[in-house]
């Protein structure tokens, strides 16, 4: 298949491209950005004037819920939602049931993802058996079966000795570790950020110290074990400055923040709205300001959707009893664009943080629109308005604070490995 994507504003942070031009695809690869290669006759030309074309987005942490929680979502439903939201690859978290701690679960998900024929699934294996934090997972086997990294997700490892051994073992397997900096004991009872809002609402708080202690602990162990580490979902200003300092000192760690933590703060919990019950918790205005600045200055590499689809019952509860998380894929592009519009950072930075940066963190070969790179592409219309409703959300999870709001920005075309998986253009 020869494909010509014509006339869009092409933004590729990897090559510094930002101009209106054409992208030519042959088979599974990009063959040219700009003028048509000699003798190229497209089988299909899609006119994309007024729209933005970028490298396909890569989600660093999506809870696909299958196997085990199919009543919340399935690999098929979420891979389709990812594809229609501009994501060409999604990293699935290992907190399924059974946990992704052995090769057979990976094989099962692979088959499911294959039949879904939508976004590509990348596997995050478990760091410890059953994510229990006691026994190391079979990391070598997980790596051999195709896991791109290992993580204990947000199941905090209580025993620092186990964590230290797990990181050392992952290092000897040559695996990247995704670290969610959580201190089990300070996090255990908390349901939201500890501060004026949690005090007013009488909701048990998670102090900022929780994240700071965990980041310090993890940085120390990363330095000692030499493991390649990525810090997931940082939420506080002080955590950012710790990562900055470590990087300045030469520690090659990367980091991401969840889009929700760039958008919202603890005050948004308002009167116990369970849609703002998140992990990590929404912190204060000052934290949000620092998180945004860190993306702008590239002190933090990536923005993550932290997609957590839930069934309706999981949120139909008093705040503390409700399940944490936002179903974020469908609204990702308009929410990201709203941050650009507010001046948090520019569009090129935003795109880099969801394509090039996650690609580099995972050590993949895409994330750019260069000749011979995989044809993973996302096109969105930045001005198209749409109303978020249960019907317009492709994800099986309808748990989003944007429900019934009108948003601006919609993905119209997603190409994965040269194949059109989503297209609403004529």
């Amino acid at each position: 298949m020869h494909l010509c994507l014509a006339g869009a504003r092409v933004i590729d942070p990897a090559t510094g491209t930002d101009k209106c031009t054409n992208v030519y695809i042959k088979g599974t690869r990009i063959v040219r950005v700009g003028r048509a290669p000699q003798g190229f006759t497209p089988d299909q030309t899609i006119c994309l004037e007024g729209q933005i074309l970028a490298p396909g987005f890569i989600e660093l942490g999506a809870h696909l819920r299958e196997p085990g929680f199919e009543y919340k979502a399935t690999i098929a439903s979420e891979c389709r939602a990812a594809a229609s939201s501009g994501f060409t690859s999604v990293c699935c978290t290992p907190d399924t049931m059974p946990v992704i701690d052995n090769a057979s679960v990976v094989e099962h998900i692979k088959q499911r993802a294959h039949t879904a024929r939508a976004a590509r699934v990348l596997y995050l294996g478990a760091l410890t058996h059953g994510l229990q934090g006691d026994v190391l997972a079979e990391m070598r086997a997980l790596k051999d079966s195709g896991c791109v990294a290992v993580t204990n997700a947000d199941c905090a490892i209580r025993d620092t000795a186990v964590l230290r051994h797990a990181l050392a073992y992952a290092a000897s397997c040559g695996l990247t570790v995704f670290l969610h900096p959580i201190d089990y004991w300070l996090n255990r009872d908390g349901k939201m950020h500890e501060g004026a809002v949690s005090t007013r609402l009488g909701i048990p708080g998670i102090p900022e110290a929780e994240e700071i202690i965990a980041v310090n602990r993890d940085l120390t162990l990363v330095e000692e074990t030499g493991v390649r580490a990525h810090f997931c979902r940082l939420s506080s200003a002080r955590a950012i400055s710790l990562i900055k300092r470590a990087r300045r000192a030469g520690l090659p760690v990367t980091a991401d923040v969840a889009l929700s933590n760039l958008l919202f703060i603890d005050r948004d919990v308002g009167s116990f709205d369970p849609n703002y019950h998140l992990r990590p918790p929404l912190r204060e205005a000052r934290d949000r300001r620092h998180l945004r600045a860190a993306i702008k200055k590239r002190d933090v590499d990536a923005i993550c959707g932290n997609h957590e689809p839930h069934d309706a019952d999981a949120k139909a509860m008093p705040f503390s009893l409700s399940a944490p998380g936002i179903s974020s894929l469908d609204t990702f592009v308009p929410a990201l664009l709203s941050l650009v519009e507010q001046g948090a950072f520019d569009l090129n930075t935003a795109i880099a943080a969801v394509s090039q940066a996650p690609n580099d963190i995972l050590g993949l070969s895409g994330g750019a629109l260069t000749c011979d790179s995989p044809a993973d592409i996302c096109v969105f219309d930045p001005s198209q308005k749409w109303t978020v409703s249960k019907d317009t959300l492709d994800s099986a999870g309808k748990n989003t604070p944007f429900l019934n709001q009108t948003m601006r920005g919609k993905v119209t075309l997603t190409v994965i490995g040269g194949r059109i998986v989503h297209n609403t253009n004529d």
Partner: protein, 319 residues
Amino acid sequence: MNQLDEQERLKHFLTIEGLSRALLTEVLDTAERFSPVGERAVKNVPLLRGKTVVNLFFEPSTRTRTTFELAAKRLSADIINLNIAASATTKGESLTDTLRTLEAMQCDMFVVRHQNSGAAAFIAKKVAPHISVINAGDGRYQHPTQAMLDMFTIRRVKQNFNDLIVAIVGDITHSRVARSEIQALSTLGVAEIRVVGPKTLIPDKIEALGAQVFNDIETGIAGADVVIMLRLQQERMNSPLLPSAQEYFQSYGLTEQRLKLADKNAIVMHPGPINRGIEIDSAVADGPQSVILNQVVHGIAVRMAVMSLVIGAHAAGTN
């Protein structure tokens, strides 16, 4: 939190947060009118005749549940007590399903106690529009009728709130009573609200609610007109929060000697049940400055007032 109807009258009674001074005063004035009912030979009025009130308690309670029951009976309502902790939810029924079932029984009012903050508001949002919800304590968030009966008690003795210094002593972190009281005192115009306790029992940034923090009781109650002692829950003693009940009493227990530091006309309050010798000395609890038993009596009148106000709002709306 939506607890008012279009005419800005109480539809539910979920929280003190956001209620106006006029509305709080209306509750107190209404309670004042109900107060003599309990002293009569025939202790009821027909205001809520034909109405069904359900005491929906997800957490055990004796005194609050009993006073609500008595208040409903004095208003001639039918009342059902449901102890959900030992009922349907332990069989796996969801909260929403429990509510649907009760609604189907044609109830008019739910009096709710729940262990989770925000639960009463959640229930108010879920129930059919003709049902009123009264919060009888949700998690650490609010216990608004307790706060109002305390305000009633203070007003009875002190007449007005303006120049008062009120000290709340004890476990502020886990106390829904303290949160409701701070907001009620602040709305009613109290000059100075203090919270007194060790740092382990004072929540972060409580100052934002309008309270000053004191970590020692001597300065905390100095010159106070009202001293409200909070109950120290059993599970907080010998915990990471406090070394022992004895040490707590030594540091924060209200003794006759310490009470002398307060204003000479100071009153001592306690939402009950009292831990004698832990947060309060018996000599103080039973002493001349204690109004603890008055609080219990006032509780019935205040709950009658709240019940009639929320139902009255509906009666007006449907006529």
